[in-house]
Symmetry: C2
Subunit: 205 residues, 2 copies
């Protein structure tokens, strides 16, 4: 069975768990967190030299880091990857947008506020910059979702799973989602998908 090493409360780690839930595929969850140093141990660094979760381990021991690459690998052949090459490219484009223009602000601001271990990094400048840039990213999503039901087109794709992860908990980072009504409607459509599970969900041991 596939193993996903991850931290329960992390949006990046939720992404592959949500895809597995939506596609009804079993997997094993192993809790590894940066909060207690779990991602910094020599044993974990031997598996992922970049020291980050999630990390996917196949039955034969092969290892794949990066949440969005795990989505692309596990998503192949599911309805969450469009057949059309340009829609597939748009899907990937939103996933790179997420890692560069959204996660470092929307997710990081949440972690600065939610995790006691991060609070010493929560300077006024950092909170202001992540607020400004996070709202900028949410505005880019609003423009797209005012014109399209899902990010890559008419159907939900990996891009939606990817950006749902931290957008749906953006309020925990101090963002006011009522300013982004098209994003709000999109969040509701995703939470209504068959098989949907919330952030803290993990398969029964």
């Amino acid at each position: 069975m596939l193993t996903i090493y991850g931290m329960t409360d992390s949006g990046n780690c939720y992404k592959p768990r949500l895809l597995m839930a939506l596609t009804g595929r079993p997997f094993r969850h192993v809790e590894v967190s940066f909060l207690d140093g779990g991602t910094a141990t020599p044993a974990f660094r031997a598996k992922n030299p970049n020291g980050k979760v999630p990390l996917l381990e196949l039955d034969d021991g092969r290892l794949l880091p990066e949440s969005n690459a795990i989505l692309l690998y596990l998503g192949e052949g599911t309805p969450f990857v469009p057949d059309d090459p340009f829609e597939r490219a748009l899907m990937a484009s939103w996933m790179f947008f997420e890692q560069y223009s959204h996660e470092p602000y929307v997710a990081v601001r949440r972690s600065l506020i939610v995790y006691a271990a991060m609070r010493r990094e929560a300077s006024a400048d950092r909170l202001a910059e992540t607020f400004e840039q996070g709202n900028r990213a949410l505005g880019v999503m609003e423009t797209r979702l005012a014109a399209s039901p899902f990010l890559a087109g008419a159907a939900p794709s990996l891009a939606d799973i990817c950006l749902y992860a931290y957008t749906h908990v953006a309020a925990e980072g101090g963002f006011d989602l009522s300013l982004y009504p098209a994003v709000g409607g999109w969040l509701e459509r995703l939470a209504g998908l068959p098989g949907y599970r919330p952030l803290q969900w993990r398969p029964a041991d």
Copy 2:
């Protein structure tokens, strides 16, 4: 003919140009730079609400932002995308690594030093953080490239084109590449590929 909007000196914009050179495919280059406000004009924001280059425009007007999504779209069917699904996923994994763990430090430190317009953002703290995290990213690449000739496996892929872009000019950001001999050998292998063109290359008008 395909159009790539981009800034000549940007590594992100070099990525699709280098792929086009390596695959011998013609395209039109349109210079758009953040340095002179070109990415902030209403006309460009109508094309890419995220206000970033590169941006790919197809013959029929469809638009694709994000350098690595452009690589995935233009790379499909070329020798730079592995056939094996796991190698393809590893390729994508390194491309997400580039946008999250490498570009924000290796590329950003270069821009803080090289571009006069960026120097007011070049605080001592910012230079120290980008130096530490950039060296961390180069160390992760060194570990991989000491064990594999290219990032996704035995042959060069889009991941190598992606990470070549800012790694090969890392010295301009104050990084000492002599500390990373496996990275150095990899850079030489890439610069030796048939059709290779340097960063500043653009097709003749």
